[in-house]
Every structure is written in structure tokens, then in C-alpha cells.
């Protein structure tokens, strides 16, 4: 009954939330599925579930709920397409790293992302697109913290991403 009593106000809040989060959810879904149509369907399906639970999640963290639902939906329902991407053979990295050629660099990274295993890819998206901590990734994906750390580290290595150490970061920050 609480949902009923706050129906219209709750709907307005949901629409505001959905508009604000829709683009990022679709991008995440695209990164997870590699297919634009599946991405739209997954993002829409995630929002359907968020709306169905809006009375319960609206006062908590609806965005966290949405990304968890999205990740689980894709893991559960689109497992096969994700597995099709999984391979140890990464695409060739552009030889000359042209700073001006951002699109080429992005395209390679997205292609390389598709080559990760589903769990690696999901951790990478949750950790670095949604920018949430490894602890939160572990909680939202129901994985152990050690597993998340391991998946993240292995995936970044496959992507040939060098992560600056805290010391490097501090030095870098000090020179700016």
C-alpha cells in the first residue's frame, strides 16, 4: 500500500532516475553484450525491474540496484553471446599510439574488452565504468573480494592496461 499511496510522486521520481541513468546503463549493457540491440533490451529490462521494485529501492540506492540487475540479467540471459566473445586471442593493438587517434584507441579497447571472459568483463565494467570499489563490486556481484581483485587484475593485464601504483599517482599528482 505504501507504493500505492505515493504512486504519482514515485512515478515522477522514477522517470527522473531513468532518464538520468539510461545512457550509462545502455553503455554498460553494450560493453557486456557487444550488441547494441541486446544492450537496449537489457537496459530497458533492468529499468522494468527497477520500476517493479521502486517502492522498495527508491530510498536506498536505486542506481546500485539497477546496475546489479543489469549485470545479473546479462549474465543469466545472454550468457551464450558473452561466451562467444571470450577468447584468449586479443586483437592486435595499434602499433603507433597516436594521441590524436582516440577513436582508434577506444575501438581497440572495446574490441579487447569483448575478448575477456564474461566474469572478467563484468568486473571491469562494474569497477571502471560505474567506478565503484572492489568491495562494492564483490557485494553487488555476490563474489568474494579476492575473486574480484583477481578478475580485475587479470582482465587489466589482458587489456594491457598498466595501473599506476599509488606512489606513481602521488608523484603524478604532485607535478600537476
Amino acid at each position: 500500500m505504501a507504493v500505492v499511496r505515493s504512486g504519482r510522486r514515485g512515478d515522477d521520481e522514477f522517470v527522473e532516475f531513468a532518464r538520468a541513468s539510461s545512457a550509462r546503463l545502455q553503455r554498460a549493457a553494450y560493453l557486456l553484450t557487444g550488441d547494441r540491440h541486446q544492450a537496449e533490451e537489457a537496459a530497458q529490462a533492468a529499468l522494468v525491474r527497477v520500476y517493479a521494485s521502486w517502492g522498495r529501492v527508491r530510498r536506498k540506492d536505486p542506481y546500485a540496484y539497477a546496475r546489479t540487475v543489469l549485470a545479473n540479467l546479462i549474465t543469466d540471459q545472454w550468457r551464450r553471446p558473452m561466451r562467444e566473445y571470450a577468447t584468449e586471442q586479443l586483437p592486435e593493438q595499434p602499433v603507433a599510439r597516436d594521441v590524436a587517434d582516440d577513436v582508434t584507441r577506444r575501438r581497440w579497447l572495446i574490441g579487447a574488452l569483448k575478448a575477456l571472459s564474461p566474469r572478467e568483463r563484468t568486473v571491469i565494467v562494474m569497477r571502471h565504468l560505474f567506478d565503484i570499489t572492489e568491495v562494492d563490486v564483490a557485494r553487488e556481484l555476490n563474489l568474494s573480494l579476492g575473486t574480484v581483485k583477481s578478475l580485475n587484475s587479470r582482465a587489466l593485464a589482458k587489456l594491457r592496461i598498466s595501473v599506476p601504483s599509488p606512489r606513481q599517482g602521488m608523484e603524478s599528482g604532485a607535478t600537476r
Binding site: 500500500m1 507504493v3 500505492v4 499511496r5 505515493s6 504512486g7 504519482r8 510522486r9 514515485g10 512515478d11 515522477d12 522514477f14 522517470v15 531513468a18 532518464r19 539510461s22 545512457a23 545502455q26 553503455r27 553494450y30 560493453l31 547494441r36 544492450a39 537496449e40 537496459a43 530497458q44 529499468l47 522494468v48 525491474r49 527497477v50 520500476y51 517493479a52 521494485s53 521502486w54 582516440d102 577513436v103 584507441r105 577506444r106 575501438r107 579497447l109 572495446i110 574488452l113 571491469i124 565494467v125 571502471h128 565504468l129 567506478d131 587489466l156 587489456l159 594491457r160 592496461i161 598498466s162 595501473v163 599506476p164
Partner: protein, 243 residues
């Protein structure tokens, strides 16, 4: 910018992908249905599974022409007191039914049938709403069977009264058959419904209870329809969908 920044940048703006505007109307309709299905799955003991989508007045349907709202108690033999309206596609099917009730804001409370678009749903649902000044219809609650046929004899889409944005909505639904009286026990007291035949199909009789007599959160039992000789008609005892 380091490699990790490159990755984040690429993920935030993946080439060859541009997010589209999602159909939030469809999202809310499907989400509402899912919510109802979950509630039914948890608590339904009703013989007639009912799916109710709360609209909460957010959807305004323009009713055409001037339409007097009679407000009198409609007999089962009577058709709806208000003439039909041609709302937008998917909006109003047949005549808008005047309930004779008034919302706290002074707006007449009305019912209307609405065609449903879901492939697995019955063809019609019944909407409880209000007529705003100027003739626009504001929907509060849509009730429809979640499965089965919508024209089988007996009760359909029975929905318990509730509060929507601090406004009471009536217990309502429809009966397929030829009832002259429909009653329910509200907190142990027998209350008689108001009835109106649907203009599109006279075998369909909408019923509703005055929220002053059947209040939200009332315990409702023994919903029963009676024929012209006072005999109970088949389908008695169905439960109301709640929330």
C-alpha cells in the same frame, strides 16, 4: 592520461554506440505488471488472478464533447449514464461510466473500459479515475485479469479500494452475466454495489462500491452477484486484488 584513464574513457564513449532514448512508458507498464505478478505470486488466493496497474493520475485522457455526469445509482439494466468518448488509441473503449461519486477534490469519479495491448493479457481492463474540469479523464487504477478470458461468466478484475495520492478509490470490477445486485461484506457489514452495463457489450456489468461504505483497508468477504429471482450467480466468493 594513463592506460586506465584510456579504458575508462573508451567505456564511457564506446565508438559505434550511441545510447537511445528508451520507452519509459513501456518500462513503467511492464514494471507495473511485474510488480503485480510478484504480489499475486506471494499473496494471491484469489480465484481470479487480477493484474492491477497503478496509474496514479499521471495519464490524462481527453474525453470528447460535453458529458453530463448524472451521479445516480445505475441499475444493472441501465447502460452507463455518460455518453461514450473517443479517447486516444488504447484509452477509452465504449462509454465512460459515471459512478455518482465525487473525489475529495470535487472531481466526478468515473470508470471506463480500456483495451489492453499485451499479447498474453485479456482484451479489456477497467479503469477507475476522475473527470477533471474540461472533460479530461485522469486514471487512478487500472484493473484487469492477468490471465484467462475476459468474457467468461462471473467476476473479473475485482480490485480492492485503496488510497492513491491520498484519494480513496472505490472497490470495483466487472461481472459477466445478468446480475441485478452485487454485494460484499465489508468489515462484516453487507454493502450493495452500484452497477452499470457496458455500452460495448451488455453482458458486461461494471460494479463499484462507495469508498465511504467500503473503505480502503476494509476486510472484504463474500463478493456475490444475484440474479433477478434473488439467486446467487456463479462465481461468488472471489477475492479482491489488493494494492
Amino acid at each position: 592520461m594513463n592506460d586506465l584513464d584510456d579504458l575508462k574513457d573508451a567505456m564511457h564513449s564506446p565508438p559505434d554506440f550511441e545510447p537511445r532514448e528508451l520507452d519509459l512508458g513501456a518500462v513503467m507498464i511492464q514494471g507495473g505488471r511485474l510488480r503485480r505478478r510478484r504480489r499475486l505470486a506471494v499473496g494471491a488466493t484469489s480465484a481470479a488472478a487480477v493484474l492491477v496497474l497503478l496509474v496514479g493520475g499521471g495519464q490524462l485522457v481527453r474525453a470528447g464533447g460535453n458529458r453530463p455526469d448524472g451521479g445516480e445509482r445505475a441499475a444493472a439494466s441501465a447502460t452507463a449514464t455518460a455518453p461514450g468518448s473517443a479517447g486516444p488509441a488504447g484509452g477509452v473503449q465504449g462509454d465512460v461510466i459515471s459512478t455518482g461519486l465525487t473525489a475529495p477534490g470535487g472531481e466526478p469519479m468515473v470508470l471506463w473500459f480500456q483495451p489492453l495491448s499485451g499479447t498474453k493479457l485479456p482484451a479489456i481492463g477497467l479503469v477507475a479515475g476522475r473527470r477533471a474540469a474540461g472533460g479530461a479523464l485522469a486514471a487512478d487504477v487500472i484493473s484487469n485479469d492477468a490471465e484467462g478470458e475476459d468474457r467468461t461468466p462471473g467476476f473479473h478484475a475485482a480490485q480492492a479500494p485503496m488510497m492513491v495520492d491520498d484519494r480513496p478509490t472505490p472497490a470495483f470490477g466487472y461481472f459477466v452475466g445478468d446480475p441485478v445486485k452485487i454485494t460484499v461484506e465489508a468489515n462484516g457489514r453487507r454493502v450493495t454495489a452500484r452497477l452499470a452495463r457496458w455500452s460495448d457489450d451488455p453482458s458486461v456489468v461494471a460494479f463499484w462500491f462507495d469508498p465511504a461504505e467500503v473503505k480502503p483497508d476494509a476486510t472484504l468477504k463474500k463478493l456475490t452477484a444475484y440474479g433477478k429471482n434473488g439467486e446467487p450467480l456463479p462465481g461468488a466468493g472471489v477475492s479482491f486484488a489488493v494494492g
